[in-house]
């Protein structure tokens, strides 16, 4: 049995699955990273992913093309980021409660609209989702072709977001301001910038990415919307941000590691399912997220102003 599992590592299909599973986590984690570096923990992530999955799918279902679906998901995600900012940034409310409230609100309003749209469907309707691209020459390379070069455009887009977020955070004035907002908002204020505005922008950008992570589920990984399909991926993303020490490229490492374990878990279920109940395999990603948090908890990289609301004119 151990040999069977080792064989998995040389199975191109396993790696292709890993990359597919990594994408929604990747997008969501990068989104959370931007929010947290600006000093705001966005617990709305689970709900924003749900609503992203729903509106992306709905746009295509109602006749829009796939790129419009992505755009709409991003815009809706950003507007939930704005809503989050209204509570947590402008009113300075508890980021924990705001986030949980946004998650419950976004998912319930999503489910409500879905039921309004399709009052009585037992099997969810399907859309024409993103299809794997055939890249001349590359797709035909043995092993690597299947593992890396037979993915959808959305998959490549997700991986492109890593250098994009890296560039944003490290090479642009906006990214620098976001980092300062999360480290010491007073420093931003002293340079004449509006902390609340910068944090709001970060929340909107980050939430847009989260919504895309959700949209990936309904538009690339699957082709329909199911209730509860995000299934805790948002919470795992929050653990991954900590695991990645708030660094974009480490997010990729973490997402692939987790996705690999998830893909492995599916295979292991097939191999060991007779001895161990499938539920224990399904628990693995959640338990591992907790373990990852325990090991990364004392990181020195955490943004110093995380969770602290900033109020203008309050004596510091």
């Amino acid at each position: 049995m151990i040999l069977d599992l080792l064989e998995l590592l040389f199975n191109a299909g396993f790696w292709a699955a890993t990359i597919r599973i990594a994408c929604p986590l990747l997008l969501a984690t990068l989104g959370e990273l931007i929010c947290e570096r600006a000093g705001v923990l966005n617990l709305g992530i689970e709900g924003i992913m749900t609503i992203g999955a729903l509106v992306g799918w709905t746009t295509v279902y109602l006749g829009g093309d796939l790129s419009t679906g992505i755009l709409v998901a991003a815009i809706v995600g950003a507007s939930f980021g704005l809503l989050h900012a209204f509570f947590s940034v402008y009113l300075g409310a508890s980021q924990h409660v705001t986030g949980i409230g946004i998650t419950l609100f976004a998912s319930s309003i999503g489910y409500y609209s879905f039921r309004l749209l399709l009052p009585s469907s037992t099997t969810p309707p399907k859309i024409m989702a993103f299809q794997p691209l055939e890249i001349p020459f590359f797709s035909d390379i043995p092993f690597l072709g299947i593992a890396l070069f037979q993915h959808t455009a959305f998959t490549y887009f997700a991986f492109l977001m890593i250098p994009a977020v890296f560039w944003l955070m490290n090479k642009t004035p906006l990214g620098l301001s976001i980092k300062v907002a999360g480290e010491n908002p007073m420093a931003l204020e002293a340079q004449g910038l509006d902390v609340l505005f910068v944090r709001t922008i970060a929340l909107m950008l980050g939430s847009a990415l989260m919504a895309l992570g959700g949209a990936y589920l309904t538009m690339s990984a699957f082709d329909a919307f199911y209730f509860g399909m995000v299934n805790g991926r948002g919470w795992i993303a929050i653990a991954l941000v900590i695991f990645a020490s708030w660094q974009p490229f480490r997010v990729m490492l973490g997402a692939i590691l987790f996705a690999g374990l998830d893909a492995f878990q599916v295979r292991a279920q097939q191999l060991a399912g007779a001895f161990i109940a499938y539920q224990f395999f399904l628990m693995l990603p959640y338990l591992l997220s907790i373990v990852a948090m325990v090991f990364a908890a004392r990181s020195t990289y955490y943004p110093r102003a995380l969770l602290i609301p900033f109020r203008r004119g309050e004596r510091h």
Binding site: L43, F87, Y90, L91, G92, A93, S94, H96, V97, T98, I100, G101, I102, L104, F105, S107, S108, I109, Y111, Y112, R115, L116, P119, N231, G232, W235, I236, I238, A239, I242, A277, Q279, F280, L282, M283, Y286, L287, S289, I290, M293, V294, A297, R298, R311, R312, G313, E314
Partner: protein, 352 residues
């Protein structure tokens, strides 16, 4: 826009603010009903009828309020101490597991012993389920929001495993459910031939007990101090870790009671859909109750009315049942705003 701290908060302000946030939520619900093409007036009338229309519907509202009082208390206790336990859903199921394990024939006592025994085990198991998270937070600085959230998924998978495997009731005709609780362990009905059971009275008693603990004892005093400012509490000789552990035990334990009450009071046996998210709704209950134990009773009843009423309403005027969830979620957000308005004045123009 900026906020200015109020120097004085009039006594009536918190209650007016909370009431108006309830009102705003209902207006928002009315808009959603209109979007669905129905009339809000009929909708709210159906809602009222569904929640109060008959002896049965009143009992049903009370029965739905019961787990919400428990989970609302669990959230209120934890949030007061700034311990973000979002895992009441999981702790509820752990309590339910305890009631199933001990209540389906493993031990048999007379009802007078059996019922308190089941409640006690449910409390202990719920508390134990939260204990690792508080220890991780205090000793390793692991954020409890994420750990408690993730544990909800783990616990529900565990329940699923038990119900499909070793605990599956052989007489359940293939449904994944556990054996029923023995007669000695069942919580009796309060109103005969309805679903309102003793759990409701226990929940209200718990709320008063928590109120007494919070306002009159040194533990309640310390937990408030630790919540507001752990550093000052520590400098005053209060052990932050011990206090937090106490808070977690109380919070997790009461969430566990919700599970016992559902299994031994309402359903009679454990199923995988025992809770339609009572743990998460508890957060809204706690917020709406201003994190006050007595407030929790009223807000739990209010939200139970929404749930029971919205169920009846959506059947009557064909609006998706998820409306109730939307109302609950928007309650959290509107109450959040009103809590800010209680402490701060919003100045739309001008700066310092």
């Amino acid at each position: 826009m900026r906020l200015e701290a109020r120097e004085h908060t009039p006594l009536w302000l918190p209650w007016i603010a909370i009431l108006s946030s309830g009102l705003i939520t209902l207006i928002f619900a009315a808009i959603l009903i209109m979007v669905a093409g129905a009339s809000p007036v009929t909708g709210f009338y159906e809602l009222y009828k569904g929640a109060f229309g008959s002896k049965n519907s009143i009992a049903e509202t009370g029965a739905t309020a019961t787990p919400l009082i428990f989970t609302g208390l669990a959230a209120a206790i934890a949030f007061r101490a700034r311990f973000w336990n979002i895992g009441a859903e999981g702790q509820l199921y752990i309590g339910a597991l305890a009631a199933t394990y001990f209540g389906t024939g493993l031990v048999v006592f007379s009802p007078l012993v059996m019922v308190p025994f089941l409640l006690l085990t449910g409390f202990l198991f719920g508390a134990l389920a939260l204990l690792p998270m508080v220890l991780l937070r205090q000793f390793l600085k692991v954020d409890e929001v994420v750990t408690t959230l993730l544990m909800n998924f783990v616990i529900i998978l565990l329940v699923s495993y038990l119900l499909e495997g070793p605990w599956k009731d052989p007489y359940s005709l293939g449904w994944p459910q556990a054996s029923p609780v023995i007669d000695q362990g069942v919580l009796p009905q309060i109103i005969p031939r309805t679903r309102l059971h003793l759990g409701f009275a226990i929940a209200i008693t718990m709320a008063f007990l928590v109120w007494y603990i919070q306002s009159k004892t040194s533990f309640g005093f310390s937990s408030r101090a630790v919540g507001f400012n752990p550093s000052t509490a520590k400098h005053s000789g209060i052990s932050v870790t011990k206090t937090m552990i106490g808070v977690a035990v109380l919070s997790g334990g009461i969430a566990g009671l919700a599970g016992v009450s559902e299994v031994a009071g309402l359903k009679g046996y454990l199923t995988l859909d025992l809770s339609p998210g009572f743990g998460y709704t508890g957060i809204a209950v706690a917020m709406l109750g201003n994190l006050h134990p007595i407030g929790v009773i009223f807000s739990a009843i209010f939200i139970a009315i929404i749930y029971v009423g919205a169920g009846a309403m959506s059947r009557a005027i064909e609006v998706p049942t998820y409306l109730a969830d939307v109302i609950v979620a928007s309650t959290i957000l509107t109450v959040l705003v009103s809590l800010i308005l209680i402490r701060y004045r919003i100045m739309l123009r001008g700066k310092f």
